[in-house]
């Protein structure tokens, strides 16, 4: 059995994003006890675990939403102290959320540039006037680079299909991250064909040299798309192994804590 709980201290190629021995409690609930993960540039790492294992909490720690009670967070090879989402963004880490974090009434262009708007040059820019043409052009280029085709970039995203919206969310995260993209169950709400598209997108993102950390319950897809798999069990990292060494039954057994008890 591949039950190696590997340390993540080695940093020869600087980590895109990682964490060591993170703990986080909410009052009496211990969400994370000893969670570790390491994602190198160009690598797709899947984070798996049963419901309530602490995956979302772990991701939020890496994003700066929660501050860990103990442990270290590493971005771009450096230990960092994140106090908000803005900190993580400034360091080049962006997220695709479980429930799409898009504003449904805004267009694709506006969503991609939300919080990163480009102003006109000169006096108009001084008044906060946006450079719509420039934003549209760059959004178009970013989508093309990921081979995402949309019927229109200016209609509200609520009019797009679920897969298209997820693609916009991914393009958005990729556009503003220079180190790593985190994804919380990006295919949970999608049909099979759209899930495939999202998996292919993950590969294109990794090919651009970004680290990809994806939380997913779709184990066959995880084993196919990810380079490595990390399993959380009750807030603790109990497995960190190459995907190629794993099978779905292995994973399931580890996720429900079976292996841990045997060890």
């Amino acid at each position: 059995m591949t039950t190696r709980t590997r340390g993540v201290a080695s940093q020869d190629p600087p980590l895109a994003i990682g964490a060591e021995h993170v703990a986080k409690s909410f009052g009496h609930v211990t969400a994370l006890r000893d969670a570790s993960i390491a994602v190198r540039p160009g690598e797709i790492v899947a984070l798996c675990g049963d419901n309530g294992a602490g995956k979302s909490t772990f991701l939020r720690v890496l994003q700066g939403i929660y501050r860990p009670d103990a442990g270290r967070v590493i971005i771009g090879g450096q230990e960092v102290d994140l106090t908000s989402v803005r900190d993580a963004q400034a360091l080049g880490v962006d997220t695709v959320h479980q429930d799409l974090a898009l504003a449904p009434d805004l267009s694709t262009v506006d969503n991609i540039f939300l919080g990163h708007e480009i102003r006109r040059r000169g006096v108009l820019g001084g008044f906060g006037i946006l450079d719509r043409a420039e934003m549209a052009e760059r959004a178009d280029a970013a989508l093309k680079e990921l081979s995402i085709a949309l019927p229109s970039l200016t209609v509200p995203v609520r009019e797009l299909s679920g897969g298209q919206r997820q693609a916009v969310a991914i393009a958005r995260a990729v556009m503003w991250s220079s180190k790593a993209v985190l994804m919380d169950e990006p295919t949970a709400a999608l049909a099979a064909r759209q899930s495939r598209i999202v998996c292919d997108l993950m590969r294109s993102v990794a090919d651009r040299g970004l680290g990809v950390l994806v939380v997913s319950h779709d184990l066959p897809a995880v084993l196919e798309v990810a380079h490595r798999v990390v399993v959380l069990w009750r807030g603790k990292t109990v497995l960190d192994a190459p995907a190629a060494d794993l099978t779905v039954p292995d994973l399931v057994a580890t996720m429900v804590g079976h292996v841990k008890e045997a060890a």
């Binding site: 009434d105 906060g128 946006l130």
Partner: protein, 346 residues
């Protein structure tokens, strides 16, 4: 390289259809603002035909229409901005009254102390804007910082402010006795034939249209109304933004208060009890979404115009203006109802 990972193009013919780009004409005809504008034109034609010698469309009456719409427009535009972010302010009318009372008291005191006319009027303006902004900031704090539902918070504030205004004026005695130049120089002044307060209100509305349409502030407002959590996650400073929207709406209410005392040369403490609700009606009739994420400043202008035209027109043709309340209410329900039905997909 990337060509080895070519992703299948997201062709989904069954669903793509909905997301097609609309032509400018389709967009114009799809906008509520357009329909309310046409309704305004129809009503103007109707009242002109029904009024004796078409007096409804006389320059004198048009000026009266514009003047009476100025305050309502400022409140409605401020409210539309808040609605865009998914927030309410039911205290705008009380804010208007409170601001005008504070300014009137300040100006009376200054006149008593022998201050010059110009300085006194300027102080009145500053007090109006300052009071409005302060009340707005208080509302913003309750909503954005303490997380109280905006309907409840501003309903509470409506009571508090109204009571305060009554106390400050010895149980609601309207305040008078400030420089008459305020009325002659601004309240009843016309510039190029158009009442100055109306010009001011329209300029403000235009500025807000630019803000919503062309600035990051506008995008952020709509994003917060559309998906507050998403806005937060994207890194927008939601608390600060909601605060500033309440302050903005409060200042516009203060400005409306200034117009009020300039127009009537006295405070009108009991004349604005329904002002906030009328502002909601005007904004929503014009196509601003109650649930946030969508603002139509143009629609708000035409929504305010609808209320003013009905009120004035019914009086001119000798019908009780009580029917205005019914008509505006009915239009509100029909406009929003039609929207609901057309957006419900099979």
């Amino acid at each position: 390289m990337s060509d080895t990972k070519a992703v299948p193009v997201m062709a989904e013919p069954e669903t793509d259809d909905r997301a097609r780009q609309r032509t400018p004409l389709q967009r114009l005809m799809g906008a509520r603002a357009t329909w309310i504008f046409l309704l305004d034109i129809a009503l103007i034609a109707l009242f002109t035909a029904l009024s004796r010698e078409g007096v409804f469309l006389s320059w004198l009456n048009t000026k009266a229409l514009l003047l009476s719409g100025a305050e309502a427009l400022l409140l409605a535009v401020g409210l539309a901005m808040l609605l865009g972010a998914g927030k309410f302010d039911l205290s705008l009318g009380a804010n208007l009254v409170m601001s005008s009372v504070m300014a009137a008291l300040a100006m009376v005191a200054m006149v008593g102390a022998g201050a010059g006319v110009g300085v006194t009027i300027l102080a009145g303006l500053v007090v109006c804007l300052g009071t409005g902004a302060m009340i707005g900031a208080l509302n913003g704090m309750l909503v954005a910082v303490f997380g109280i539902n905006s309907l409840i918070a501003t309903l509470g504030m409506l009571g508090v402010i109204t009571g305060f205004a009554l106390v400050a004026t010895g149980n609601g005695q309207d305040v008078t006795g400030f420089p008459h130049q305020l009325q002659s120089g601004f309240g009843l002044r016309t510039i190029g034939g158009i009442p100055a307060p109306a010009l001011l209100a329209l300029t403000v509305a235009l500025a807000m249209w630019v803000v919503i349409r062309f600035t990051a502030f506008g995008r952020h407002t709509l994003a917060i109304g559309s998906a507050p959590l998403a806005a937060e996650r994207v890194g927008l400073r939601v608390t600060r933004h909601v605060m500033s929207l309440f302050v903005l709406a409060g200042m516009l209410a203060g400005l409306a208060g200034f117009i009020d005392i300039a127009h009537y040369q006295t405070t009108v403490i009991n004349g604005h009890n329904n002002a906030a609700l009328q502002a909601v009606a005007a904004a929503v009739i014009g196509g601003t979404a109650l649930e946030g994420g969508r603002i139509s400043i143009m629609g708000t202008i035409w929504g305010v115009a609808l209320a003013v035209i009905l009120q004035n027109g019914l009086v001119i043709i000798g019908v009780s203006s009580a029917y205005q309340l019914m008509a505006v209410g009915a239009v509100l329900i029909v406009a929003v109802g039609l929207d609901r039905m057309s957006s419900r997909r099979p």
